[in-house]
Subunit: 415 residues, 2 copies
């Protein structure tokens, strides 16, 4: 078994080789990985069967088992993901600007690989390949630490990827899986200063907060989304209902799903019954403020402060009637997680004020929060959605996995 | 005395107000601060006298006392700095791009204020104003924690800035100084998650590493510079000597000063005596590898591994003869701190290889490393020089103090 120290050394050495690969070489590696995954699917399914068996023995819930499950079709999907990453344009080497200074120095800012990227994630084998493919295309080596419930699957996938790189004469240590899945080793990984240039946690709030609290390497915080739909006094109420249902119900387990509905008092009596009716077919449970309950009745549960801060990830939503746009914005900036926020309005000034003053990665006028996604934004793929303000905010595609470097051309300048 | 908790609350509340200020309002505030600093210089000098007296009593060295010292002229300089920041263009609100997606959604990426910026720095009263001015212009509230030796000066400067904002009807809590200068409170500040959007340490390596190790909020690591000048086989040796002397001697105490000289073996015999002669007037002490000592003699001290990793910040330099460009690059990537690196060469391929493969914030061909600086790069002012790869790398001007936000204009889109 490779220790974390071995892996850290190997990845640090490999990062210079990966950084030097041209786009064609990187794409060749990704296509070879896709091909190998398809070719060796029997091995992957066998490894996955071990994880599933252990998972059942350990009493994992059906949801977790489903995330863990690989099928022939899912493996094809993962391989197709690699081909899609190969098709993305390469961010490395892009010159963002170059200027000539009065002293003749030509100073340019260039996009360069990050170096070594760490990813800590849960028991989703597909993330092993998705993350490795994105890091590789972005010119970085990666150190992956997946949930231990998916260990056999992830190790098998990693070995197949490494074999594919080796067969192509590409740096094998571009892709590394932490084989010791103890919590101590995960904590050690969070403190690999000098080896890891960035660490990205992908998963639930508990995992992400553990990384934020324990890491001494730079971290990009991803994920939690307490997203709001605010129905303004001037909203088209039918549009508001359509957006609400989509944002809440189209896929409840994701971070860009709506968890809270705010309604301007002027339209509360008209809109709330419409909203309740629209959410009824999906059996959405409402947690309402007193004014909401006065309109919709006691079938609506009373909303607590805790409800307003909750990411349900379920067919539940908190509902609050607000006095004004300003109160809606203040509520969102208090209870939101800085992910995705939506106003439904026909009023120009209200739309601008909401866009300006709501503090979140993505702010929508008259569209569902469900669009906060690398594919929907046109980035092709994403490594996660950043909810912090440093480096990257919102869906992170290949560019978010790169750093920058100033290159300066002189002819003998001194100060 | 305001507690850190009071300050954190106040700054968080103020950030929304500061973010909403237009450029004219922010500039008005900065000009008022400049005016007030000049007007109230007697108070500042009196507060500074207290710090100086305590510093002398506590046996601070002359260098530290000089950094602490304010004079009428230095106060004018600080005020002038505020006027210069007012003159910089405002990064907030810049739309970096906007695209229309196939479904008609218009997605744009906009530069927005960071929110609350924390700065931890040493006993330099001027940083109190410089940092506050930059954060204010960037639309953020700031929490400043300066070295306790400069406490009376920093508090006086902060109060003057806050008074000036109040008199202009601008949010006073945009600028906050941590008044409890204990180490416990500094540590508490590093863990103000939910309040601080970023924390930037400015100062020596010890301070920066303490912040990197202890902080749970996002940090931008700044500062340490083990910068190299590499003299290639094809270098113009006179130019190389000029660049070397400038990079080493023009100002020894700064992070972009050269700390190590690498010389290609083909020109070692010709260049090393030239280099020794050029550095002699400043009395630069050389720490050389065996080959260097074979050429220059035993007057050169033997270089240890520690020397190669050392930021002397003094009239000292390590010297190593390398076999090849590749060895020079590998040495720099091993011992460098990712700050500023220079090759002196006449060879096109060597210049490109050095630019591509050296992993640092700023890579120079034929120019002194001393140019890595916000003013020299044309950013007007800087909050520090980032040596990490996340968010900002190299000199950080106003743009590095901002975040981004996606704004999405829809007309009812759902997924």
């Amino acid at each position: 078994m490779r220790t974390l120290a071995d892996i850290a050394q190997a990845a640090k050495a490999a990062k210079y080789e990966v950084a030097r690969l041209g786009t064609n070489d990187k794409n060749r590696g990704l296509m070879a990985i896709a091909h190998a995954l398809t070719n060796r699917s029997a091995e992957i399914l066998a490894a996955n069967a071990v994880d599933l068996q252990e998972g059942r023995k350990n009493g994992l819930g059906e949801g977790l088992l489903d995330r863990l499950l690989l099928t022939e079709a899912r493996i094809q999907g993962i391989a197709e993901g690699c081909r899609q990453v190969a098709a993305l344009s390469d961010p490395v080497g892009e010159v963002l600007w170059q200027r000539t200074r009065p002293n003749g120095l030509k100073i340019g800012l260039t996009r360069v690989p990050m170096g070594v990227i760490g990813i800590i994630y849960e028991a989703r084998p597909n993330v092993t390949v998705d993350a490795a493919a994105l890091c590789f295309k972005a010119g970085s080596a990666c150190i992956l630490r997946g949930g231990k419930e998916a260990f056999h699957s992830s190790l098998c996938l990693t070995n197949i990827m490494r074999d594919a790189l080796a067969a192509e004469g590409l740096p094998v240590n571009a892709i590394n899986l932490v084989e010791d899945t103890s919590r101590e080793t995960a904590n050690e990984m969070m403190r690999l200063n000098g080896y890891l240039d960035v660490l990205i946690p992908r998963g639930g709030a508990g995992l992400i907060q553990a990384v934020v609290r324990n890491a001494t390497v730079p971290v990009i915080e991803t994920g939690t989304g307490n997203c709001h739909v605010y129905v303004d006094a001037s909203a088209d109420l039918d549009m508001a209902a359509r957006i609400l249902v989509n944002a809440k119900c189209q896929r409840i387990s994701v971070c860009n799903a709506a968890e809270s509905l705010l309604v301007h008092q002027d339209v509360a009596e008209a809109f709330l019954p419409l909203a309740a009716q629209a959410l009824a077919p999906d059996g959405v449970k409402l947690h309402g403020c007193p004014r909401t309950r006065a309109i919709l009745g006691d079938a609506v549960l009373p909303a607590t402060e805790e409800d307003y801060g909750k990411e349900y990830l379920a067919y539940e939503i908190s509902v609050k009637v607000v006095d004004s746009l300003e109160q809606a914005i203040a509520h969102i900036n208090t209870f939101g997680t800085g992910h995705s926020e939506c106003i439904v309005t026909r009023d120009y000034t209200a739309s601008q004020q909401f866009l300006d003053q709501v503090d979140a990665a993505a702010v929508y006028v008259n569209a569902s929060t469900r669009f906060t996604d690398g594919f929907e934004f046109g980035f092709g793929a994403e490594i996660g959605i950043s909810t912090q303000k440093l480096h990257a905010r919102g869906p992170m595609g290949l560019e978010a996995l790169t750093s920058q470097k100033y290159i300066i051309y002189g002819n003998g300048q001194v100060r």
